[in-house]
């Protein structure tokens, strides 16, 4: 069905963004306040997907999780998890690939909050966790929104990683960006244009809404 790749893209982006959000909150808050010597190393790893060709990530992912390898076959035999050419594999790769887009905005949002807010909360007897949820995160709303939207949009725009580890299986791993490539290869420009136009308009609308909201242009409608 013609809508399948689009629905799959949407599902992938939503699942990835949701899981990324859960992972990124503790990671970003750790990075924002740690004095650990490991910080530069972790920051580098988080930022790698920004500069690394997606094919590199996909390639190593493929090698690591291939059932032909020790680790991949162990996962398959013990947990019945097959990450190569499957939707869960796609989600895992997307999480790694979009990690900086979620972590960076949240980290910088948290870092820009005056340290005295955190200290005031501690002096009121509040734990680190309660301080994070009730003071730090509510005061980083624009940064969190930016992170969510960028991660979502970036997952929609994925191509290389998905192709490497997902392949091109209809209804399983054939997302819209791959479907476009596929249709162009088959000279079906009409279908390719259909997918492309939808992705173009969707990502434009998503990014525009972030800039409008964070720029306070929509203040009367958004509290």
């Amino acid at each position: 069905m013609i809508w399948d790749p689009l629905l799959l893209t949407l599902k992938l982006a939503m699942v990835t963004t949701f899981l990324l959000f859960i992972i990124s909150i503790p990671l970003a808050s750790w990075l924002a306040q740690t004095k650990s010597k490991l910080k530069p190393l972790i920051e580098t790893l988080v930022s790698m997907p920004l500069v690394l060709p997606p094919t590199v990530l996909g390639f190593y992912f493929l090698i690591a999780f291939s059932p032909g390898n020790t680790f991949g076959s162990w996962l398959n035999e013990w947990f019945g998890i097959k990450l190569v050419f499957s939707f869960p594999g796609l989600v895992l790769a997307s999480i790694l690939y979009s990690l900086p887009f979620m972590v960076h905005p949240i980290q910088s949002g948290l870092s820009s909050i005056s340290p005295s807010l955190k200290e005031a909360s501690y002096l009121m007897g509040k734990s680190k966790w309660e301080t994070l949820w009730k003071v730090l995160l509510p005061n980083s709303k624009p940064a969190i929104l930016t992170g969510i939207v960028l991660a979502f949009a970036h997952t929609i725009g994925e191509f290389g990683v998905v192709l490497m580890i997902g392949g091109n299986i209809p209804e399983v791993t054939k997302v819209a960006s791959i479907a476009i490539y596929d249709e162009v290869e088959a000279m079906n420009y009409g279908t390719a244009n259909f997918y492309s136009a939808i992705l173009f308009v969707t990502t434009f609308a998503i990014l525009l809404s972030v800039y409008l909201i964070n720029g306070r242009y929509l203040k009367p409608f958004w509290k």
Binding site: S114, S116, L117, E119, A120, S121, Y122, L123, M124, G125, K126, S127, K134, V135, P138, N139
Partner: protein, 290 residues
């Protein structure tokens, strides 16, 4: 009773400085920390609050150890010290209204009457506003009320009144005095202003380059002992110029500027920025009621 005996190396604008303090503070007092900026006043408050860890020494409050470096290194968490802290930037939570800020500080104990606290600080009408919609003086009152809402035993204030204009400052000093009495606090405040310290403080401790240089009652400490005159004010010379045979100087006393004439001999050594003491044995000024 607070006993502090600590040492800590600090980075100051003028290079490394060693904060080395040994002092006791009686329960129920208002103690002012006085000294130029960079003397270690704020660091001392932060150490007491557990926000900064001393290198060595010990802190005990009502016989209970809060910090010790030996025999076994121990530091009570900030969360468990029950300190009300008014930060220089007030540190109000922007996502909460005035009332919510107070409720967050009060926690679930809920034994304090927040409405009364709001009224005491004249915040009743503002309780549903967010901090960003308040003036500096209002924010300061919220910060004070919020620190009281958590029912602390010790209240620490880091130059809370420095950014405010004169009228509001006097009003807040009054609020602070009332709250200190009503809630039976031990209060330590950092201040540059001698007037403020004399008005509020029971005791003043002067720090210089991380060391205590003197301490005592404010009225005694700030009145230099050699001069026995009945009337005495400290003034700063703003400008001075020679007119005919005498000097005419503009002087700043607290926040008032006035002009005064000096003889050639007196005025010769004066430069703008000098601090002088004006004293008289036989002072009969004209007086008007305001």
């Amino acid at each position: 009773m607070i006993d502090i005996q600590i040492q800590k190396k600090l980075d100051s604008p003028t290079g490394q400085m060693s904060l080395d303090v040994d002092l006791s503070i009686e329960k129920g007092q208002i103690v002012a920390l006085f000294g130029e900026s960079g003397a270690g006043k704020t660091s001392l408050l932060r150490i007491l609050a557990g926000l900064l860890r001393p290198d060595t020494g010990k802190i005990a409050v009502n016989e209970k150890t809060w910090f010790q470096s030996e025999p076994k290194s121990f530091s009570l968490k900030s969360q468990e010290r029950n300190i009300g802290f008014v930060f220089q930037d007030y540190a109000l939570f922007p996502n909460m209204t005035v009332l919510e800020n107070l409720q967050f500080a009060a926690g679930k104990k809920g034994t304090i009457n927040l409405e009364h606290l709001l009224e005491l600080n004249e915040l009743g009408d503002l309780k549903h506003k967010k901090p960003k919609n308040l003036s500096g003086g209002q924010q300061q009152r919220v910060a004070l009320a919020r620190a009281l809402a958590q029912q602390p035993e010790i209240l620490l204030l880091d130059e809370p009144l420095s950014a405010l204009d004169d009228k509001i400052r006097r009003k807040l000093q009054q609020h602070l005095l009332e709250a200190h009495k009503e809630y039976g606090l031990t209060t330590i405040l950092v201040s540059h202003t001698i007037e403020e310290i004399i008005k509020l403080g029971d005791w003043v401790i002067e720090l210089h380059q991380g060391k205590m240089v003197q301490q005592g009652r404010p009225s005694e400490l700030f009145a230099s002992k050699e001069i026995k005159e009945k009337f005495k004010v400290t003034a700063e010379v703003l400008s001075i110029e020679l007119k005919n045979d005498s000097f005419e100087a503009q002087l700043l006393v607290q926040n008032h500027v006035f002009t005064m004439a000096f003889s050639k001999k007196q005025g010769d050594s004066l430069r703008p920025g000098d601090r002088i003491v004006l004293a008289s044995n036989d002072f009969k000024p004209n007086m008007y009621k305001k």
